[in-house]
Symmetry: C2
Subunit: 369 residues, 2 copies
């Protein structure tokens, strides 16, 4: 077993319980110590590993075999992709749990990216009114964002993440080594969320990123580990303050209202979530500029950094009214008014509906067909 | 508006929030005060009333029209019956919520019996990761049991209430007048749960019931109101101690493990839940007698009181192995062992796996084909 090159432990404080995020290297490998890292957080004897057809051939066998020494292990392999983040996949998880007579003692393990993590978490939240689960995120996006904080759920045909629960995992194990098998396009999608943290809360981190993005793109795992650690710490701080998103947590959705429009309009799976968020952050920055909060140089900086990470900075053509209608489904809509997360400056975000609606229309019109 | 003949207010204390149970008479009627009673617990402007085809013609119009003076009101009318307590019905609720662009501000109102309450609660727990809901139970069973305490959910084809969440309502409004339109068979089914409270925690209440059951069967609303108040107080006390059923709350499932076998085996909807619980309580009492905790006179007393309420005291014929297999899915199974709620004496229940399995087999064999 290789000695870990990067290792960091963080703790997330939530109302239901505290739990660790372990960020490491080489925990997932032949003869790895992954099972030994998650085993202390499995309270019963029953384990269901939920993964997908892409991740299973890479990491499932080693994890499963190691855990079988201590636990009764079952596996549910789902198809890969955002378009399968639906009730049908959740039903497949329930069906396995029922077929093997698992009960409230079971621990579900999500082995995969954000889609697997969100679905496994929601299945855990709703099976027998709630059982334990553990996150093993294998994509950069899920490591820095979706695996931490307990947001779980699935898409509704009319809107992303409309069905779900707040349900916290027992632990999160993020192994940087898994990024070696991640397609470049998905690495970039994850970097969108990393850049998001810098844009909304830390201008210094933005400078750090501009310097270090090339190393991250070249899979320097220590640099990636450092970035993941910083993002997870931001996320943990925000979740501890506002677990159920009644305040500051909403800021983490920067770029997401615009991004969800892109994802819903183009059909789940054609744009990666991180790609849609990248283009969405540009639109949010453009609106911030129209309001007078950002300079054109600062908007150019946002675009430059996203481009460094090979991310799109222009949304696909969408009619203004279509975009507005899709925004109307957003969870942040309050009393019928669209609220958006915008930038007061680079490194400072605000959730607001205090803007001239025509400015929003202008931004959307720029990108209409 | 008639002056209420019976009125009681209780409070349920839970981790998320405290909420009232209002037990009253004549709140639901032409020009009623129902809307005025629930309106203070509706925080946003959006209301979705979920009801079924049986209850809608009786109480929907008055409630809807009154609420429309203050709120944007939408309605979802589901088919009536335990066989519709499934994902498809939940999806119908989601679809209405999405079609009318409702958001996190929405309050769902469950107008109906336990099935409507459980489904509406689960839809509220999972729509946008959790929105508010209010229970207006219109059956005796839901008034004394399922509307209080936050257990929500649906059935899985292989097991009852397997999918769900703990999600507390904002208030519960129980109007005794609704019992006037309840079929006699369903009134009896509700009395099964009333008798359950007496059997597990209050021998004096059992005596009270033996005296008052005839008046309850004759729809004396004041006597029914007194019984509902006592049951809701028991339930509120138990929920305050053990919201997530890690201990004492499990005792409320007396008769339910045997009862769920009947319901699952016969197909949801053919036996009413309360009827299955009644026959299940007899089986639990019979096992308690075999262990040596109850006398044959006490088992006869259980049967006599259930018969007074026109309830079945014998389960349908089910093979022993089939019953054991169905019990294996029960949420109370721990480390593969069947745990049951049994009676130490009339008025005192215990959750235990400390019994000779052959005694359980003997009881099941008594009722096998």
């Amino acid at each position: 077993m290789a000695t870990p090159l990067f290792h960091a432990d963080l703790t997330v404080h939530t109302q239901s319980h505290d739990y660790p995020i372990v960020i490491t290297e080489n925990a997932i490998a032949e003869n790895s110590s992954m099972a030994s890292q998650v085993a202390p957080y499995i309270t019963g004897r029953q384990v269901l590993i939920v993964t997908n057809e892409t991740v299973a051939p890479l990491y499932l066998k080693a994890l499963q075999e190691e855990l079988e020494a201590q636990f009764t292990v079952q596996v549910c392999v789902l198809p890969d992709g955002e378009q399968y983040k639906n009730q049908s996949s959740i039903n497949q998880i329930y069906d396995v749990l029922m077929a093997v007579h698992f009960n409230r003692d079971v621990t579900l393990i999500a082995l995969g990216g954000g889609v697997i993590g969100d679905m496994t978490g929601f299945a855990a939240a709703s099976f027998m009114r709630g059982v334990n689960f553990i996150q093993i995120p294998t994509t950069l996006l899920s490591q820095v964002d979706s695996s931490v904080g307990g947001k779980t759920g699935i898409n509704h045909p009319q809107g992303k993440n409309m069905i779900g629960a707040f349900w916290q995992p027992q632990m999160v194990l993020a192994d940087m080594s898994t990024l070696k098998t991640l397609p470049a396009r998905e690495l970039s999608a994850g970097l969108a969320e990393v850049i998001k943290y810098a844009l909304i809360m830390d201008a210094e981190f933005l400078t750090w990123l501009e310097h270090n993005l090339p190393a991250m793109m070249a899979l320097d795992l220590a640099v990636l580990g450092e970035a993941v650690k910083r993002c997870c710490q931001y996320k943990a701080d925000v979740v501890a303050q506002d677990e159920r998103e009644s305040g500051v947590r909403a800021l983490l959705n920067f770029g997401h209202t615009f991004g969800h429009v892109i994802e819903t309009h183009e059909g789940y799976g054609s744009w990666l979530h991180g790609e849609a968020v990248a283009a969405g952050m540009v639109q949010a920055a453009e609106l911030s500029q129209k309001i007078g909060w950002l300079t054109s140089d600062e908007v150019a900086c946002v675009k430059r950094i996203l481009s460094l990470a090979n991310l799109p900075i222009t949304p696909p053509p969408i009619e203004v009214q279509t975009a507005l209608d899709l925004m109307g489904h957003d969870k942040k809509v309050k009393h019928g008014q669209i609220r958006l997360i915008l930038l007061k400056s680079l490194g400072e975000a605000v959730l607001t509906n205090d803007f001239d609606p025509h400015l929003l229309t202008d931004v959307l019109a720029t990108h209409a067909p």
